[in-house]
C-alpha cells in the first residue's frame, strides 16, 4: 500500500478496473508512467486511454465514455485538469447529466519549483460552482483511498484533490462527515481544518482554548455535523486553497446562528517565487506558525 496519495490512487484505481468493467481511465500523459509501473496499462489496454497532452479532449472523451455507460476516472495537474478544461467539465460532463471522477495532482504548491503555471489554489472554488460534484480534499493516502472508493459508489461526480502534503494520521472517520479532533471549553472558538492542513493546525493551537474540527469534504459540507459541534460564536476555517472558498458553505450551515466566520487560506496566488513546498506553505501562512499568527490575530485566548 503506497503512503503517497498518487501511488495509492493508482493502486485503488487498479482495483476498481479489476472489479468493474464499466470503469475506464482517461489520461493526458500525466501519471501514465505510474500506471505502467503498476502493470495496469498492460492489463487494461482498452480501458486505460491516454489521449496525449490534450486536456480538453481528455474531458470530452471522458464525457463520451460516460454517455456510453462507463465511469471515467481522469487525472492530471490541477491547473490543466480543472482550469484549462473547465468548460469541458461544465459542458462535457455536468451539462450532459453524466458522472465522472476527476482526481488532480499538484494542489496549491506541490509543484513549487515549477511556478505559477503548475499551481491551482483556485481549483476547489472553481469546482464548487459546478452542480452535482462532491469535492474531497484528503489529508493522507488512507483518506484518498476512502474518498476514491466513496466516489466510485456515489451517484454524483467527484473531484478529488491529491497533494504531496499529508497528515500523519487518518482523521476522517466517515467520508463526507465532520470529525472532532479536539474539544475546547463551552463558548470557545471553533476551527475547521480542511484536509492536509490538519496537523499544522493542531500544532498551532497546542495551548489555545479552541475546538478543532476536521473535514476532507468541503462540498457538500456536513452542515449538520458542523452545527452540532460549534459551541461558540466564532468559526475559523483553515483551508489549503484559495481563502474564503468554503466560507459561504459554512455560513449556509450556520444560517440561523449569529456566527463570525473567518477564513485562512491562499490569499496571494501570484507568488512568483520558486523554492520548496515548505517555502510556499510558509509564504501563505499555512504552516503551524502562520496558522498560529492568524488565530492570535483573531484574538483567541490561551487555554487555562
Amino acid at each position: 500500500m503506497g503512503d503517497r496519495m498518487r501511488e495509492r490512487f493508482v493502486e485503488t484505481v487498479g482495483d476498481l478496473l479489476t472489479i468493474d468493467e464499466r470503469t475506464v481511465v482517461v489520461l493526458a500523459v500525466i501519471s501514465h508512467s505510474l500506471f505502467d509501473d503498476a502493470g495496469l496499462t498492460a492489463r487494461f489496454p482498452e480501458r486505460i486511454i491516454d489521449v496525449g497532452i490534450r486536456e480538453q479532449l481528455q474531458i470530452g472523451v471522458a464525457g463520451g465514455l460516460a454517455l456510453e455507460g462507463f465511469l471515467p476516472i481522469v487525472t492530471g495537474y490541477a491547473p490543466f485538469l480543472v482550469e484549462r478544461a473547465f468548460e469541458q467539465l461544465k459542458i462535457g460532463l455536468t451539462h450532459q447529466g453524466v458522472r465522472a471522477i476527476a482526481a488532480s495532482v499538484g494542489a496549491s504548491w506541490d509543484a513549487s519549483g515549477s511556478g505559477r503555471t503548475h499551481q491551482a489554489p483556485e481549483d476547489v472554488a472553481l469546482m464548487a460552482t459546478l452542480p452535482g460534484w462532491d469535492i474531497h480534499v484528503p489529508g493522507n493516502a488512507d483518506e484518498l483511498e476512502r474518498a476514491l472508493r466513496h466516489a466510485y459508489r456515489s451517484d454524483r461526480s467527484s473531484y478529488i484533490r491529491m497533494t504531496a502534503d499529508a497528515n500523519a494520521h487518518r482523521y476522517s472517520e466517515d467520508v463526507g462527515r465532520i470529525t472532532t479532533l479536539r474539544r475546547g471549553s463551552a463558548g470557545s472558538p471553533t476551527i475547521v481544518a480542511v484536509g492536509p492542513v490538519a496537523d499544522a493546525t493542531l500544532d498551532a493551537v497546542s495551548n489555545l482554548d479552541v475546538t478543532v474540527l476536521y473535514t476532507m469534504t468541503p462540498s457538500p459540507l456536513d452542515g449538520r455535523g458542523l452545527r452540532a459541534r460549534v459551541v461558540g460564536d466564532e468559526v475559523l476555517v483553515i483551508e489549503p486553497y484559495l481563502a474564503s472558498t468554503s466560507a459561504g458553505r459554512v455560513a449556509e450551515a450556520m444560517v440561523d446562528r449569529a456566527i463570525r466566520i473567518r477564513s485562512h487560506g491562499v490569499r496571494q496566488p501570484e507568488v512568483q517565487r520558486y523554492g520548496s513546498p515548505e517555502d510556499h506553505r510558509r509564504f501563505h501562512g499555512l504552516d503551524a506558525a502562520g496558522i498560529r499568527r492568524f488565530i492570535e490575530g483573531e484574538h483567541v485566548t490561551r487555554a487555562g
Binding site: V26, I49, R54, L57, G60, G63, G64, H95, Q96
Partner: protein, 238 residues
C-alpha cells in the same frame, strides 16, 4: 435490430423530405442561425432517412447509431428531421425556444428524445463523439457515431485534438461530417479534407445538397480508420 428508414412504421411518421421546410418554418425566434439550420438540412435528412439505424420508439436502443450535432447552432433542421422520423411530436415545433419547450436554440439531450449530446458551445461535440466511439469499441458494438461540424467550428483547438486522437486510435466506427459553407474566417488552405487526412482519416468530398452524393459519401469504405465527409453547400449558403 434497428433499421434505417424506420419512418415507414413509426409514430409521427407519414411525413417526408417535402415536409421539412414547412416544419422548419414553424420554428421562429432564432433567425440568426437560420443559415446554419438550412445548411445542414440535407445531410441530416440523408443520415436519418438512408444511413443511420435507430428506433424512435426506443431512442436509447443500445444498437442504434449515434448522431452528434457538434456545432449545435441552428437545430431547426435537426428538430424537423426528428419530428418527421417520429422522435418528437410535430406540434412541439410550435413551442420552439419558449421557456416551456423542450426545443431550444441549442439541443439538450435531457429534454429532447433522440438527441444524444447537448451541444451549442463550439468544439465539444467531436471530442465527445471520440469518447463514444471508443466506448462502443470496448463494448464490441456495431453501432456507429456520426458527428456533424461546421467549417467555422474547425477553428476550435479542441476539434483538432479530437481529429488527431481519432486518427491515431483507428476509429473505424466514427464519421465526421463537415458542412462547408465557407464560414471559417481564415479559410482552410489545401482544403478541409487535408486537416483530417494528415491525421490518418479517410476523406471524401460531396455536394451537400445532393442526397445521392451525400449517401455515397457516408457509405464510403473506411475500414479501421475514421471517415470525414466534407459536404459543400456554397458560401454562407442557407
Amino acid at each position: 435490430m434497428v433499421h434505417a428508414q424506420s419512418i415507414v412504421d413509426t409514430p409521427g411518421a407519414g411525413h417526408d423530405y417535402s415536409h421539412l421546410r414547412t416544419f422548419m418554418s414553424r420554428m421562429t425566434g432564432d433567425e440568426k442561425h437560420s443559415e446554419a439550420a438550412t445548411s445542414t438540412l440535407d445531410v441530416i435528412w440523408t443520415l436519418y432517412d438512408r444511413v443511420m439505424r435507430f428506433d424512435p420508439s426506443r431512442p436509447d436502443h443500445p444498437g442504434r447509431d449515434r448522431f452528434v450535432l457538434s456545432k449545435g447552432h441552428g437545430p431547426m433542421a435537426y428538430y424537423a428531421v426528428l419530428a418527421v422520423k417520429g422522435f418528437i411530436p410535430p406540434n412541439a415545433l410550435d413551442e420552439f425556444g419558449t421557456f416551456e419547450s423542450m426545443l431550444g436554440h441549442h439541443p439538450d439531450r435531457r429534454l429532447v428524445p433522440g438527441v444524444e449530446v447537448s451541444t451549442g458551445s463550439l468544439g465539444h461535440g467531436l471530442p465527445t463523439a471520440v469518447g463514444m466511439a471508443l466506448g462502443l469499441r470496448i463494448h464490441r458494438s456495431p453501432s456507429r457515431v456520426f458527428c456533424l461540424l461546421g467549417d467555422g467550428e474547425l477553428d476550435e483547438g479542441s476539434v483538432h485534438e479530437a481529429i488527431a486522437m481519432a486518427g491515431r486510435s483507428a476509429l473505424g466506427n466514427l464519421t465526421a461530417i463537415v458542412i462547408d459553407n465557407d464560414s471559417a474566417l481564415h479559410g482552410w488552405p489545401n482544403g478541409i479534407g487535408s486537416r483530417f487526412s494528415v491525421e490518418g482519416w479517410e476523406t471524401v468530398d460531396v455536394d451537400g445538397r445532393d442526397h445521392e452524393a451525400i449517401e455515397a459519401g457516408l457509405r464510403w469504405p473506411h475500414p479501421d480508420v475514421p471517415l470525414a465527409v466534407i459536404a459543400t453547400v456554397g458560401r454562407r449558403d442557407g
